[in-house]
């Protein structure tokens, strides 16, 4: 028996397989449901259907409808229910179907989930991981392509994370659900079907650490979610002109890896922050400020921001004019290099 358990635990770490992010998250949920009987998965359509993105595919069948179940369509009650479940010893993993549908639940998320541990002076912790399909890039209907990270990061008591590839999605979800703090786990929809060879592994880095996905020495591109891949495309193109760009995947949007940002920019002396959310009061401002405060004397140019515009998220045909394009990021790189 013990041997079986050990094998089951070590198996994912040894195999390298090709998975999409949606499949990797499914694997992580399976691992979590199997390892901890307190983990509950619930939300709209997560049961028999397996979620609108099939992220919970097969999990109700495998773990039963007491562990994985559908709720009525009411986001505020889903998050409020998570609070009560946590107070009864469960480890809730609610899903809100799309980013824009988190707004009806903001009262529960901000007023209740985020501060329950605080207001009860630690008596009632909230080990809740809110899974939230997030960001744009899939030409979705209105309210299906929002970037709420600044709102969540601004809320005391919440931790916020956005993975950028399947392997990351796996280990970061394990880390989020095992955390005793509430975590908003933002799943970049644009990356759901992107298959790559991954090694499913236990989390190794502490919560709040970034990672350099491409080293470089002329400037640092900071991004998260699907924008990491946009930045990698830019770095590839810039390399053809002999410009070596470092790409830093921030991953944790609260807490932000200030030291990681400083370490990178102290070397490259230039930084461009790229995100999908609108510019004003976006998380890019926080990143820019953290870099400037720590690297003021090292900086050769002001930190550039390439973001969505200060407009409501647009419909399909305009989406790719709204989201940071390769050209816009390249222009920003040029501005910082020529400053």
């Amino acid at each position: 028996m013990t041997e079986l358990i050990e094998r089951a635990e070590s198996a994912p770490e040894t195999e390298t397989i090709e998975l999409s992010m949606q499949q990797a998250i499914n694997r992580a949920l399976r691992t979590l449901l199997a390892e901890d009987p307190r983990v509950l998965l619930f939300g709209e359509d997560v049961g028999a259907l397996g979620g609108v993105f099939r992220v919970s595919d097969g999990l109700q069948k495998e773990f039963g409808d007491q562990r994985v179940f559908d709720t009525p369509l009411a986001e505020s009650a889903i998050m409020g229910m998570a609070v009560g479940l946590a107070m009864n010893g469960w480890r809730p993993v609610p899903e809100l179907q799309f980013d824009g549908f988190a707004y009806p639940a903001i009262d529960q998320i901000v007023n209740q989930v985020a501060r329950m541990n605080y207001r009860t002076r630690g008596a009632a912790p909230m080990p809740i991981t809110l899974r939230l399909p997030s960001f744009g890039g899939i030409q979705a209907p209105e309210h299906h392509g929002e970037s709420l990270e600044a709102l969540f990061a601004h809320t005391p008591g919440l931790k916020v994370v956005a993975p950028s590839d399947p392997g990351e999605a796996y280990s970061l979800l394990l880390q989020s659900v095992r955390s005793d703090d509430p975590v908003v786990y933002m799943e970049p929809k644009a990356c759901y079907w992107d298959r790559r060879p991954v090694r499913l592994s236990e989390p190794t880095d502490p919560i709040g650490t970034s990672r350099v996905v491409r080293p470089g020495r002329h400037a640092t591109l900071v991004a998260w979610g699907a924008m990491v891949h946009r930045c990698l495309q830019v770095a590839e193109l810039a390399a053809e002109d002999g410009v070596e760009l470092e790409v830093l995947d921030l991953r944790w949007l609260k807490p932000i890896d200030a030291a990681g940002l400083a370490a990178s920019v102290a070397r490259t002396k230039r930084a461009v922050v790229v995100h999908e959310a609108p510019l004003t009061a976006g998380l890019g401002a926080e990143v820019s400020s953290l870099i400037t405060e720590q690297c003021f004397r090292d900086l050769a140019a002001p930190v550039q921001r390439v973001t969505g515009f200060d407009v409501p998220y647009p419909a399909g045909p305009l989406e790719h004019q709204y989201l940071p394009t390769i050209d816009r990021v390249l222009f920003a790189v040029q501005r910082t290099l020529e400053y």
């Binding site: 509950l40 709720t71 009525p72 505020s76 229910m81 009864n88 009262d107 209740q112 541990n117 932000i256």
Partner: protein, 345 residues
């Protein structure tokens, strides 16, 4: 049933209850009444920045929680549940410290007390109760959740969502509405379409019960039936206890601007403590001498709680940072150092 036009004092009976029970109800209601009076005095003295009185609602509160078992059930209050907290056995200096604004949510241990944090977003805790109750069913436990809300909160979407969830899941939860007829300055007829909160239960497939909120025996019996049903797997119940907020909404309020005090006076004449006292004597559950003794003990306990909360130490500034996270962050530690260097000095 009393109506808002009720002019007489009416009478209640406790003959269907045990003398032990009614003596306990009287003791708790009397203690809550005295503590309420002390709290208003503390506000006048500047010790409390504000206070929300439960006067006149003691029967609705004590009668309800007295049907629960503090060892296995869980109460989710809003902010006007002092008599419930007291009757449920919550540590009252810690509870009243919220009114002294020592800590938002209260200094009592909500998990140990099985009595949730004080909550000003009045619809907010109702889905918590449903989640707790669903979790209790999943655990195979037989605990029951009690969700408190008022006529004002009955308009909140969370309350409707919670009732629907509870109906779908068959959760062991009691939706206990204290209809005190005033949501701050807004009366029932401007708040509750259809005129009845209990009647809304039908739409969710739940039993709905309207009870005289000033008749503690009636409240206790209605709640006990709902608790029994929930414990046995019969699902949720909506209870609407009709009562009246005889005091202002809070010590900062001025009811003269929006209501006729003659109506409040009619309800003051239906004081739930007076009604219970008369009924106990009528039923032979206690005599005047006994009740006088209880009154003296209640007053003494209320004074002890008052003194406790008035002299409770203020939280240390470092506690600003202590419970934000279970696992704190480097950034928060940095801000704590800033506080130490620039605020604490």
């Amino acid at each position: 049933m009393p109506s808002p036009e009720s002019t007489g004092r009416g009478a209640i009976t406790v003959e269907h209850l045990s003398p032990e029970l009614t003596r306990g109800l009287y003791r708790d209601m009397r203690t809550a009444r005295d503590l309420d009076t002390e709290a208003i005095a503390l506000q006048r003295q500047g010790v409390f920045p504000a206070y929300v009185s439960v006067r006149g609602q003691e029967a609705a509160q004590v009668g309800g929680v007295s049907a629960l078992d503090p060892a296995r059930d869980f109460v989710f209050p809003t902010y006007r549940e002092m008599a419930s907290a007291l009757a449920y056995g919550v540590e009252m200096v810690g509870y009243m410290s919220t009114h002294r604004a020592l800590w938002h949510g209260g200094l009592y241990d909500v998990m140990e007390s099985r009595f949730g944090a004080v909550n000003a977003v009045v619809g907010g805790p109702v889905p918590h109760a449903v989640g707790w109750a669903i979790g209790e069913s999943l655990r195979g436990g037989d605990g029951v959740a009690m969700a408190y809300f008022g006529d004002g909160a009955s308009s909140e979407g969370d309350v409707h969502e919670a009732m629907n969830f509870a109906g779908v899941f068959g959760a062991p939860v009691i939706f206990f509405c204290q209809n005190n007829q005033w949501a701050l300055s807004v009366p029932n007829h401007r708040q509750v379409a259809g005129g009845s909160i209990a009647a809304r239960a039908e739409g969710y497939g739940l039993p709905g019960v309207l009870v005289d909120g000033n008749d503690v025996g009636a409240v206790h019996t209605a709640t006990a039936q709902a608790v029994e049903r929930a414990r046995e797997g019969g699902g949720p119940t909506v209870i609407e206890a009709l009562t009246y907020r005889v005091e202002p909404h809070s010590t900062s309020d001025d009811p003269g601007r929006y209501r006729d005090e003659a109506e409040a006076d009619r309800w003051r004449r239906r004081d739930p403590l007076d009604l219970l006292r008369a009924a106990m004597i009528e039923a032979g559950h206690a005599d005047e001498a006994h009740l006088d003794r209880v009154d003296a003990e209640a007053a003494a306990r209320a004074e002890r709680i008052r003194d406790g909360v008035a002299t409770a130490p203020e939280p240390h500034g470092s506690e600003l940072f202590t419970h934000v996270f279970r696992e704190s962050t480097e950034e928060l530690s940095r801000q704590r150092r800033t506080w130490q260097e620039e605020v604490e000095l």
